[in-house]
């Protein structure tokens, strides 16, 4: 059977570092990029005698995420120890949640070529991150940096509802959007603050029995996720086609070779000896706290996208970009309060504003001008007070200096000339100097019209109102 006769079945496990100021069980900073082992204390170093105390923000973030993903929140969830030895795991166990996680039975809706599809969420639980081992430190030594040890994580496990690599990528993107919108995660795959493992299996099309699955690791970009899943599907089909059996194992995505390779088999898998963490009482979340968190939930990316298309009449393409990040969407809505041609506003956002933000590396929060001022500028362009091109310069100046658009137009003399008499004088002058070109035009060479427009605009240093220039030229040329 060819690959097309097989049905891939995919589930994702997402690990998201929570954006808390301090670690999950101690007061150490979670800041990224500190000198190795700077952000540590006896608790996250796993010294003798230390005990964990839960950072309540972690539970708040978990509840918020669970509600956004339509999960049931457990009134009582239980901490467990996952036991294994590794140098970057200071206590020899990870404090996590096992059989009674804080959130269960949720879903996340994604877009597929066949339309909307709800991917079920099996569970979400809280846990502590491990540190980092550095193996190529030189001198045959391995070094351990425990700054990350104890940084809070959410693990979000989907049901095996994804059917191809594109759906998996779509799901991961949608998940990232939700987490970033909620303010619980920064969505950074490259730095590893948002990571994912994929469980992949294949079965003959039409079958209802899933095949043996493999777990893929080291998928630190959307591209790698797609490539690794596609490679793995083809590999498993090959194994089956050649009469073999897929064995359950953990496989690592090799970025350089573009292949997945075996990391450990089921037999080599750890027996984690989970048991309830005796140092932490079960976590109780009251119905009131859940209700309050539900009330405080922001509008989620998907709902916002739908509203942007319906309320502002924007194309899906525009709405998607504008709602990709919450601050941008918020800023658009603030501007929409001052300027009602939403599609035109969107054009300015997608074009000039985003270009400026990107080029100058400025965050939206640091913008120097107000939504009202942007509205004012676009209004001036509409009214012909300033040309669209000059408007872009004005926006650039607003961006850099925060000055009011009217002041910039005045200072730089960018005001457009819409005085018919003034334009007419220039048009007459140009026509008088170019009798030969007029002949050509009248002989049918219509493209010469552009030449005249150019000459007039040049003479007016770009400030002539283009509509009026066109109109007058046509009249004079006898069209």
């Amino acid at each position: 059977m060819p690959v097309s006769d097989f049905q891939p079945v995919i589930g994702l496990e997402v690990h998201a570092q929570l954006l808390t100021q301090s670690k999950i069980f101690c007061g150490c900073s979670t800041a990224f990029g500190a000198e190795p082992n700077r952000n540590t204390c006896p608790v996250c170093l796993g010294m003798p005698g230390v005990l964990p105390v839960l950072n309540q923000r972690v539970a708040e973030f978990a509840v918020r995420t669970g509600l956004a993903l339509e999960c049931t929140i457990r009134p009582t969830s239980v901490w467990s120890r996952k036991n294994y030895f590794y140098p970057d795991l200071p206590k020899g166990y990870q404090i996590t949640q096992f059989d009674q996680p804080i959130c269960e039975h949720g879903r996340l809706v994604i877009d597929t070529p066949q339309g909307e599809k709800a991917i079920r969420i099996l569970r979400i639980h809280m846990e502590e991150d491990a540190g980092k081992s550095v193996h190529d430190a030189g001198g045959g030594q391995s070094l351990v940096d425990l700054n990350r040890a104890g940084v809070p994580l959410l693990e979000i496990v989907s049901q095996p509802d994804l059917r191809d690599a594109d759906e998996a990528v779509e799901y991961l993107k949608a998940m990232r959007d939700v987490l970033v919108y909620l303010g619980v995660n920064d969505g950074n795959l490259e730095e590893g603050s948002f990571r994912c493992d994929a469980n992949v299996s294949v079965m003959p099309k039409g079958s209802t029995t899933f095949g043996q699955r493999c777990e893929l690791k080291n998928l630190n970009s959307f591209r790698f996720l797609k490539q690794a899943i596609e490679y793995e599907i083809a590999r498993q089909v090959d194994v089956i086609e050649s009469g073999g059996k897929v064995v359950q194992e953990t496989r690592l995505w090799d970025v350089n070779k573009g292949v997945t390779r075996s990391m450990r088999s089921k037999e080599e898998a750890h027996d984690y000896r989970y048991f309830p963490e005796p140092d932490l009482p079960p976590l109780h979340v009251s119905a009131e706290a859940i209700a309050a968190a539900a009330k405080a939930l922001p509008e989620l990316p998907r709902a916002k996208l739908q509203r942007f298309t319906s309320q502002y009449g924007l194309p899906a393409y525009d709405a998607r970009i504008l709602t990709a990040e919450r601050p941008l969407a918020d800023y658009f809505e603030a501007c929409a309060g001052h300027y009602k041609d939403y599609k035109k506003l969107s054009n300015w956002f997608l074009g000039e504003l985003m270009r400026l933000l990107k080029e100058e590396g400025t965050p939206l929060s640091a913008l120097r001008f107000t939504p009202a001022q942007l509205g004012e500028l676009l209004g001036a362009v509409d009214q012909g007070m300033v040309s669209a091109n000059a408007g872009k310069d004005v926006l650039g100046e607003m961006f850099r200096t925060g000055k009011a658009p009217a002041d910039i137009i005045a200072e730089k003399g960018l005001a457009q000339v819409s005085d018919t008499g003034a334009i007419e004088a220039v048009v007459d002058d140009i026509l008088a100097k170019n009798a030969g070109e007029i002949e050509k035009y009248r002989a049918g060479k219509k493209q010469v019209f552009g030449f005249f427009v150019g000459q007039v605009m040049r003479a007016m240093k770009g400030k002539g109102n283009p509509a009026l220039v066109n109109e007058l030229l046509k009249k004079k040329l006898g069209d």
Partner: protein, 486 residues
């Protein structure tokens, strides 16, 4: 009479009256250690400089009229399981040899804030696993009443030091009887508070759901005073209790008239030494004379306590002791050439036989495929044991029993027989499984001159009740005045 013959409160009174200084008391304690510890071997380490500095600071406070607490200036010893900043702490294990903690345990901080000079670290069974101090990686401690015998364990060094009057009091920890059993074997008072009453932060963990620090003293009143210093909620221990802390000395002399005291059938069984039984029965009659009513009660699941304990405690220990991996502190095997070696050789060389036995027991109990039949079932039985006590305490105010089935045994006698060693804790460990407070008070001696202890178990957070009941007996029988033949 020497200063070291005083109880904590007697010394505190002298300090308050200006009849002695903390420095004198501390020097007396240090001199006594020098004199008798070669025979008792209670101390792993003496911190003479630290203790004297603390004593002088105490005297200065006293002079300026602002003592830090009622016990300011009273020298104390600490089981080597409490982390002391800047002072080596080993839990009786090679794997922590040379480990100098960067922080103080909460209870150590509280003692320092209350002004008590800490004279040193006391011997213990390795990681508190044992009932005789013989699993200490360094040496066994000896019972001051007969130096050929054990002072009990695991807080044996603490009990021996108090009984030998090397210190005025000490802190121990109790996971299955480790405060009460050595107290019983050394004619001292040992109190295991309710689980959560005293902070475990900075106390090297053996079994997290069972461990509890507590006072070891010569008298009941001293135990009350010391508990007063260390009992309080701790934001660094999520299992510490919010319950209000009463004045433990307020009702100490209130007597037992009208109280109902339960005598659990299952705690008077075969295998008990006849002299121990006789002493305890005599104590029961004393309580009747003092106006209490004895009530026969049953704790039917007692027979499962030992098995339950030896699944739960090792399971938790197997995980708690995983951090001793040679990576960050303590011992690292010098001949290790690979990561696997660092783990295997460090732990092979660093842990003693009893610790390894329990790590293996615990690892097995938690293993996939065995978890339900062992660990999970043990937790269910633990609930039944707790319910036994809840029912009993609907009828009675406290329970009375022997603390240990036998008096102090010979060093070396049970080393080769772990099971008989485990049986030493048969009357003490159900209390830990239920999280209840328990106390051992001296109740006489055998013909051979070995101390016997009476155990009193109470309702959660009724330490004051236990102290009051113990004091009623102690008032009639001041065994604590006898000094060990050293």
């Amino acid at each position: 009479m020497q200063l070291t013959d005083l109880t904590m409160l007697e010394l505190a009174a002298k300090l308050a009256a200006g009849e002695a200084s903390s420095e004198e008391a501390t020097r007396a304690s240090l001199a006594r250690i020098q004199q008798v510890d070669p025979k008792v071997r209670a101390f792993l380490r003496v911190d003479e400089a630290g203790a004297l500095a603390a004593a002088r600071a105490s005297d200065a406070r006293r002079k300026s009229g602002s003592p830090a607490s009622a016990l300011d200036g009273v020298p104390l010893g600490l089981k080597d399981i409490f982390l002391t900043e800047g002072v080596e702490t080993t839990a009786g294990s090679r794997i922590l040899e040379g480990f100098v903690p960067p922080y103080d345990a909460t209870v150590v901080r509280l003692l320092k804030e209350a002004g008590l000079p800490l004279v040193g670290k006391l011997n213990m069974d390795e990681f508190a696993m044992g009932s005789s101090n013989e699993s200490s990686a360094f040496f066994p401690s000896h019972n001051p009443w007969d130096v050929s015998r054990t002072p009990g364990g695991s807080s044996g060094g603490s009990a021996a030091a108090v009984a030998a009057r090397e210190v005025f009091g000490a802190l121990g920890t109790d996971t299955g009887g480790s405060i009460r059993q050595p107290a019983a074997l050394t004619n001292t008072v040992g109190l295991k508070p309710t689980y959560g009453r005293v902070s475990r932060f900075g106390v090297i963990a053996f079994a997290s759901s069972l461990d509890q620090p507590g006072p070891m003293t010569r008298t009941v009143a001293d135990a009350a005073a010391l508990l007063q210093v260390i009992a309080r909620p701790d934001a660094q221990d999520a299992t510490s209790a919010d319950a209000p802390v009463p004045d433990y000395s307020a009702d100490l002399e209130a007597g037992v008239r009208g109280l109902k005291l339960g005598v659990p059938r299952e705690y008077f069984t075969e295998g008990m030494d006849p002299e121990v039984e006789a002493a305890v029965r005599e104590a029961l009659r004393e309580y009747e004379r003092l106006g209490a009513t004895l009530v026969d009660v049953s704790l039917p699941h007692t027979k499962y306590a030992l098995a339950t304990y030896y699944l739960i405690a090792p399971a938790e220990a197997s995980s708690n002791l995983a951090r001793y991996d040679g990576v960050r502190f303590g011992l690292r095997a010098k001949d290790a050439r690979s990561l696997r070696d660092v783990y295997a050789l460090t732990r092979e060389q660093g842990f003693g036989a009893e610790v390894k036995r329990r790590i293996m027991l615990g690892t097995f109990a938690l293993s996939s495929g065995y978890y339900d039949a062992h660990y999970l079932r043990a937790q269910k039985v633990r609930t039944l044991i707790r319910e036994d006590f809840t029912r009993a305490f609907q009828q009675v105010d406290a329970l009375l029993s022997p603390t240990s089935p036998v008096p102090a045994f010979k060093l070396g006698e049970k080393v080769e027989d772990p099971l008989s060693m485990y049986l030493m804790d048969i009357y003490t460990l159900p209390c830990n499984l239920a999280g209840l407070p328990g106390l051992s008070v001296p109740c006489g001696f055998t013909k051979a001159g070995l101390p016997v202890g009476l155990q009193i178990l109470g309702r959660p957070f009724d330490e004051a009740g236990l102290l009051r009941i113990a004091r009623a007996y102690e008032r009639e029988h001041d065994f604590f005045r006898r000094s060990a033949p050293l």
